[in-house]
């Protein structure tokens, strides 16, 4: 039982990394980007393939990050320079990536059994598998959250946030809004791919289908976190996302534990998100909270 909870929480932290990436697009840039559905498995398959080829698992993570960022730059280019709406940009990216992910993997799935992963490396110091995964998850989440907060409070970060918050104001203040959006896309998709690389190593395999539902998990994490912790400051909002991701994972695993068929889990994920959105919308209507309603924009 303790093991199940521990494993659930550690996975929650690894998913939190992905949710932070989603947060950058949805909350900071205010663009409904679905690329995550393609860049998350991209990160997983790039890492798996690199590890299978004998590269260091850490180098594999760096390669995934780079692959995600390049995809993000491409997505940003489609959206800003080719003027393709955000939603469609995401659909194009995730569709195109499906074929690319298949090619990278060379097979529908790869197992990392017996290969050296970051988890197996950590286990030479920490005996328990779940504790190792938990330490990895917390460390990576912490580092990424801190770096992101520092970035978002830098001159460049302010310009990026202003672009998402009010484009008229951003242009009036001579901010290069297109470049800011491309940077946001790159950052978001890089982080999401990195999360894919970590989870593939944690699961010990990668397959091309593992991206399905990524956006649902990301949005559910953001909204649950925001409902529970609030958004009074930037740091708090990001902590809320992490917290939301962990809670969401625990809820889903609890549903599985109750004996739900794993094959139905995506359905339950979608239902949980629908309920959270509905509840969020209702309370938002009631206290007419500041800020935009999620339902309206997605």
């Amino acid at each position: 039982m303790l093991n199940i909870i521990l494993s659930s929480i550690s996975q929650g932290f690894l998913w939190a990394v992905m949710a932070i990436g989603v947060y950058i697009m949805y909350r900071i840039l205010d663009i409904a980007d679905l690329s995550a559905e393609g860049t998350f498995p991209l990160g997983a398959v790039v890492a798996a393939r690199a590890i299978a080829a004998g590269l260091s698992p850490w180098l594999a993570i760096v390669l995934s990050l780079a692959a995600g960022m390049i995809t993000g730059i491409l997505a940003g280019f489609l959206h800003t320079k080719m003027k393709i709406p955000g939603l469609l940009t995401g659909i194009l990216i995730l569709t195109g990536l499906y074929s690319i992910n298949l090619r990278v993997l060379g097979a529908p799935n790869i197992t990392l059994l017996g290969k050296e992963t970051v988890i197996s490396q950590l286990r030479t110091i920490i005996d328990d598998r779940n504790v190792a995964a938990l330490i990895l998850g917390i460390t990576v989440t912490l580092i990424i959250t801190l770096m992101l907060i520092l970035f978002l409070k830098s001159e460049l970060g302010l310009a990026l946030r202003a672009t998402g918050a009010n484009e008229v104001m951003a242009v009036a203040n001579a901010i290069a809004t297109d470049s800011m959006k491309i940077i946001g896309y790159a950052l978001s998709n890089g982080i999401i791919a990195l999360s894919g690389a970590l989870l593939a190593q944690n699961y010990g395999y990668a397959d091309v289908g593992m991206g399905i539902g990524t956006i649902v998990i990301g949005l559910a994490s953001i909204i649950i976190g925001e409902r529970l912790l609030g958004t009074s400051s930037l740091s708090r909002s990001l902590l809320a996302v992490v917290f939301g991701a962990v809670i969401y994972r625990v809820v889903i695993d609890a549903v599985l534990y109750l004996g739900v068929n794993p094959q139905d889990i995506k359905l339950y994920s979608a239902i949980v998100l629908a309920i959270v959105l509905w509840l969020g919308h209702r309370t938002q209507d009631n206290n007419s909270r500041k800020g935009k309603s999620y339902v309206a924009q997605t």
Partner: protein
């Protein structure tokens, strides 16, 4: 000559049922240091005019020259480095998720290279606090409050401060007091006048407030149906009375 507009034509949605000929033949020059009030009924194209100058909209015909450069060949972002703007809608000029000091920090670097340095430095905070204290609205104690919690008037004052922080070559004000209560509107108008006088700030101010247009500014322009129907300056402007200006509005109605 700081700004030249020559035979500007602008039609929205041409060749559709929604076709609107906004500016039909507009020509006027702005000298450095002028403070021009622009009057005109709703929908005559005043906001469109300011957007053309800022490069946000492009004219169908005509030339616009700003600081000796062709505006049509420049991006809105390049132009923004030398142009400060306050908009009709108080929400347009500030980013509501960002704090007061973060908004000011962005404005304080308008046109400069942005880096990965800290967005709001310690020194900048002190400067912002002083600048806000001068306004007397108590905003200096709320530097880290998100702009979204401010009232429309407070946001408009903040936008005006942001627009003038970097001493732009040209200041464009679009009915910047329209959404404000009479008292705040008065404060903002006087603040505008003070800034303009202090720095000899070249300013175009669109307004529906005839009293303000008469009281402030060195020149008054009346737009109607995409043309200038009155252009008053110097002593003539000083001796202008409200009835004369109102008569200009009524003339328009006669023509329609």
């Amino acid at each position: 000559m700081l700004l030249k507009l020559d035979s500007i034509k602008k039609t929205f949605c041409p060749q559709t049922v929604n076709e609107t000929a906004v500016l039909t033949d507009l020509t006027f020059y702005v000298e450095e240091g002028e403070f021009i009030s622009i009057l005109g009924s709703n929908g005559t194209g005043k906001s469109t005019l300011l957007n053309l100058i800022a490069g946000i909209e492009r004219p169908d015909e005509g030339e616009i020259e700003f600081c000796g450069q062709n505006v049509l060949k420049q991006s809105p972002r390049k132009l923004a480095a030398d142009i400060g703007r306050v908009f009709q809608d108080p929400k347009s000029g500030t980013a509501e998720n960002l704090s007061i000091q973060e908004n000011l920090a962005i404005a304080s670097r308008r046109g400069e290279k942005i880096t990965l340095r800290r967005g709001v430095s310690h020194q900048a905070k002190i400067n912002f606090r002083n600048a806000l204290a001068d306004l007397g609205l108590g905003l200096e104690n709320r530097l880290s409050a998100p702009v979204g919690v401010l009232s429309g008037g407070q946001r408009q004052v903040l936008t005006l401060l942001m627009a003038t922080l970097k001493k732009p070559r040209l200041l464009l004000l679009d009915e910047h007091t329209a959404a404000l209560d009479p008292a705040t509107s008065q404060i903002v108008s006087e603040m505008t006048d003070r800034i303009v006088k202090q720095h000899g700030q070249t300013t175009l101010m669109v307004t529906h407030n005839v009293d303000a247009a008469i009281k402030y500014g060195s020149r008054l322009i009346m737009l109607n149906r995409g043309r200038i129907v009155a252009d008053v300056r110097g002593d003539e402007k000083k001796s202008l009375c409200k009835d004369e200006v109102l008569a200009l509005y009524h003339n328009e109605i006669d023509w329609e």
